[in-house]
């Protein structure tokens, strides 16, 4: 460039211009810095709390921690339901890039079977993508070892150890203790309705049947929380706070497991049920329904095949016959009927009826027969109960009328839920005029009353109701609600719950109790008694009543199936009893389906159980309680 151009430049003017512009530039810089700082002030001071909250929201996650489920003990401290560690293989779908490939690789490594896969696919559909889905529920030691070695190949797949319920007595306690199984949609809905959802945030299993279901609240406990710091990928960096869960209560049942096992053994392969109550407290000492099944199957998710087998078996193992089976009570209710007759003064201790073998009513074409074709001749109430005379009770029921029978038997609990701590219970049916009108839209006929007089006709009851009615007799009206739960364990020893009293039965003349109980004594201890043979030579004194029901009916929800009924056509054998006669310690109710006569089939079972419960003094292995 030519040097003369520079010489003609006005350096001073240029310098001034430049200085002015520089200062303007610095002013603009200051303004921009001001904007920047005021925005930072807004973020860091004005909205500090907001952003601090969001920053913590990013990094802090609250994880629920499931409480350990309470254990279940029998009355002598024997563990019935416990928690055992189980290893399961879990996949978090969200974290797995290629699910199909991962599954096929796991298949070759661990040998995943079709059943597992089917179960997995079903669960996959119903769960959120970031929730773990289990592929193998119970891993063998070998599977755990194999996977641990190859774990780095499987992102999003992990072995989880968790406590699972285990029922060591398996099918002996199924209908009583019940079982837990995976929480399903319906359970979730119920939990949401009762506001318990948060408490189950980390819980996998919930009580589905029996004590496990009824006492769910006690057994479950209170959820705990772990506050953790996570990074942007959700990995847990450290635990900030831990609020431990409160474990569920360890509960104690009134059940005596040895007695329960004895009951199971006594029933062997017979379809039916046995209830043993402590009349002093209402405590359920044993309750068994046969056939049973292994509840542990349900804990780990029962397969469709196994479930269908249980569901469709003609023996109906899923039903708790002791509380849900509705049978005609037959002659087992004669003592209670007699008591009402005596108290209503339609009969006296001495009044007699002539039993010719048949019974007829005026203007009724039907002839009712005694089970003993030739008749028993003149019988009074004691005699009638001992030999289970039908004609006497036809006459008694005719005199009482259905209204008195219905009202009286309702006081013994027939047609009502017993209030036992099980949800699986039926109320049976105590027929009445109103009931027949409502149910069949028919008037009550006098003939209907006659059948009810021997515990048949429209009358059905559960074996538990029968046991409870006997308990009411031996307690002379002051009865207790049957309870399976006895108490719970604490650090300071066991807490035993008080008994629950039911509405007492008040009669005009308390001597009538003695008449009826004496007749039941006669059934067992006098040679003409219906259970005399079955209880010969016992070293304890018991009393009872046999029953033989001519109908076949087991459960309310069973469909009527003519072909099957034809095959199951024999009578139901029933027996109710108590012992010792003075100051009874147990009440027992036995109901066997299609087994024949009660005296020869049900009574011997009751005896086996009583023999066990009251051991002879010289047998040291059965130490009396």
């Amino acid at each position: 460039m030519p040097p003369n151009r520079i010489t003609i430049k006005d350096h001073t003017a240029e310098a001034n211009l430049f200085a002015r512009r520089s200062i303007i530039a610095l002013v603009i810089v200051s303004v921009l810095l001001g904007i920047l700082i005021s925005n930072l002030y807004y973020l860091q001071v004005t909205r500090f709390n907001d952003y601090q909250t969001r920053s913590n929201g990013n990094r802090i996650k609250v994880l629920p921690v499931a409480p350990n489920r309470g254990l279940i003990y029998d009355r002598n401290g024997v563990l019935l339901a416990e928690n055992r560690p189980i290893f399961s293989l879990e996949l978090i779908p969200e974290q797995i890039d290629d699910l199909d490939e991962t599954l096929s690789k796991l298949k070759t490594l661990l040998g995943v079977n079709e059943q597992n896969l089917e179960h997995f696919n079903r669960e996959l559909k119903s769960k959120r993508r970031f929730k773990p889905v289990s592929l193998i529920n119970r891993m063998t030691q070998e599977q755990v070892a194999k996977f641990s070695v190859n774990q780095h190949h499987f992102i999003g797949v992990s072995v989880e150890a968790r406590l699972k319920r285990f029922y060591r007595y398996a099918d002996a306690l199924t209908h009583l203790v019940g079982y837990v199984a995976k929480i399903n949609k319906r359970d979730l809905q119920k939990l949401a309705e009762s506001g318990e959802e948060a408490n189950y945030a980390a819980t996998y299993d919930i009580g589905k049947q029996g004590v496990e279901k009824y006492h769910e609240k006690r057994l479950h406990g209170q959820v705990g929380y772990q506050e953790v710091e996570v990074n942007s990928r959700g990995r847990i960096i450290r635990t900030l706070k831990f609020e431990p869960p409160i474990p569920g209560q360890d509960i104690i049942l009134n059940i005596d497991i040895n007695l329960q096992l004895k009951v199971q053994e006594a029933l062997a392969d017979k379809r039916g049920s046995v209830v043993v109550l402590d009349p002093k407290s209402g405590g359920v000492l044993a309750l068994f329904s046969n056939p049973s099944y292994d509840p542990n199957l349900f804990v780990h998710g029962i397969s469709n095949k196994e479930y269908n087998y249980l569901l469709n078996s003609k023996d109906k193992p899923l039903i708790n016959r002791a509380t849900q089976g509705q049978y005609p009570p037959a002659s087992t209710v004669k003592p209670a009927l007699a008591l009402i007759g005596l108290d209503e003064e339609v009969i006296t201790e001495a009044s007699r009826v002539f039993d010719s073998g048949t019974y007829k009513l005026k203007n009724v074409a039907h002839t009712w027969r005694d089970w003993y074709r030739w008749g028993h001749g003149w019988v009074n109430v004691t005699h009638a109960i001992e030999i289970s005379c039908d004609i006497f009770f036809y006459d008694l029921s005719y005199r009482l009328g259905i209204d008195s029978i219905s009202d009286g038997m309702a006081k013994f609990g027939f047609g009502e839920y017993t209030g036992i701590d099980l949800y699986e219970e039926s109320d049976g049916n105590m027929p009445s005029r109103g009931w027949k009108r409502a149910r069949h839209n028919q008037p009550w006929y006098i003939g209907d009353t006659i059948s009810v007089g021997i515990g048949q006709g429209y009358w059905t009851s559960t074996p538990l109701q029968l046991a409870l009615s006997v308990s009411a007799l031996v307690n002379r009206g002051k009865n207790h609600v049957p309870q399976i739960i006895r108490g719970h364990k604490t650090n300071n020893g066991d807490v035993i719950y008080p008994t629950k009293d039911s509405m007492p039965i008040i009669i005009k003349n308390n001597k009538n109790w003695d008449v009826v109980l004496d007749a039941m004594y006669g059934v067992v201890n006098r040679p003409r008694g219906g259970a005399y043979k079955a209880f010969r030579n016992t070293h304890y004194v018991s009393a009872g009543k046999t029953g033989t029901a001519q109908l076949v009916a087991i459960a309310e929800d069973e469909k009527y199936d003519a072909e099957k009924i034809a095959a199951h056509h024999r009578d139901n054998a029933m027996y109710v009893g108590f012992a010792p006669y003075e100051n009874p310690e147990l009440v027992i109710s036995v109901a066997l389906e299609n087994a024949g006569g009660g005296g020869s089939n049900a009574a011997p079972i009751a005896r086996q159980i009583m023999d066990y419960y009251f051991p002879k003094p010289e047998e040291p292995e059965h130490v009396a309680k």
Partner: protein, 372 residues
Amino acid sequence: MLRNNLNSNKQTTLQKIHIDGWLLCGLLMLMGVGLAVIYSAGGQDIDLIKRQLIRLAFAILVMIVVAQIPPLAYRRLSIHFYVIGIAMLVAVLVVGTIGKGAQRWLDLGFMRFQPSEIMKLAVPMMVAWYISRFNLPPRFRHTFMAFVLVIVPTLLIAKQPDLGTSLLIASSGIFVIFLAGLSWKLVFGFISVVSAFAPVMWFFLMQDYQKQRVLTFLNPETDPLGSGYHIIQSQIAIGSGGLQGKGFLQGTQSQLEFLPERHTDFIFSVFSEEFGLFGILALLTLYLFIIIRGMIISMRTQEAYSKLLAGSITLTFFVYVFVNMGMVSGILPVVGVPLPLISYGGTSMVTLLAGFGILMAISTQKRLMLRE
């Protein structure tokens, strides 16, 4: 003390090697802060620090070398730089290598090179050279020509596309024209033109991803897990730092990796989270110190070319700082501009320190120039 030495004939060691003590001091302090923040943001990775140290050492070396060259030589070479730069930009568009969705690189066989870096210095040099040939303030004709010199490389770079760099290059050229005495009529006219040009940019020049950035900038919460994620997490980091910050290595947003691009473009968020508003004010003071020192150098210089170039380099440095801080705190859209001297990364650091080298050459060699 330094100033006294400058006025006397006695020269300090630093002056002998043409280094401005004040600037060097400020730059080194910022680099020190940068290393500390990278250490925190990179998850205490010492290898990351080593690599950055090597880059810094190389960049300082470049600065010292550049400082040795007399400003007159730059003035003479301005046009050569510019022409070579333009040629390479065209070459990039034709045969350039694509990386990260943009065509910015020129593969020279032995190394990959980003020609836009050259233009960061070539554009202000060229414009300063052109405009200082005439009496200042420039006439309209000369102003127009100067703008053409700015717009051509700006558009070429915007086309790559590299919005951040084209923005910086445009500003560096415009600063020269502004300092040279751009008439106020034209300043306001220019602002009107830019406003009018914005829709044209939107519809014809901007790529989809750039449009998305602008939309996200206007309302990041519309897509909190997608395009809005960066800015939301960045604002959470800054905001949760509060006045005092969470403490060095204690920033949860950065340490737990919620913040993206932690040691590069979003390093200011890490700094803000851990050191708070007080830390930011201290950091801004350091930057302002360098800017004021740069403006002092520019004002003290007698010669117009050097004056304009020094002013432009200094103000462009401020634009770097402002755009980066503005984008991570949410007052500017996210364009990929690193925080100068702090962010981890190589190429731009070298260019930046080369610019400071020129500034130092201007500062220490004015006597030689006057003698000429």
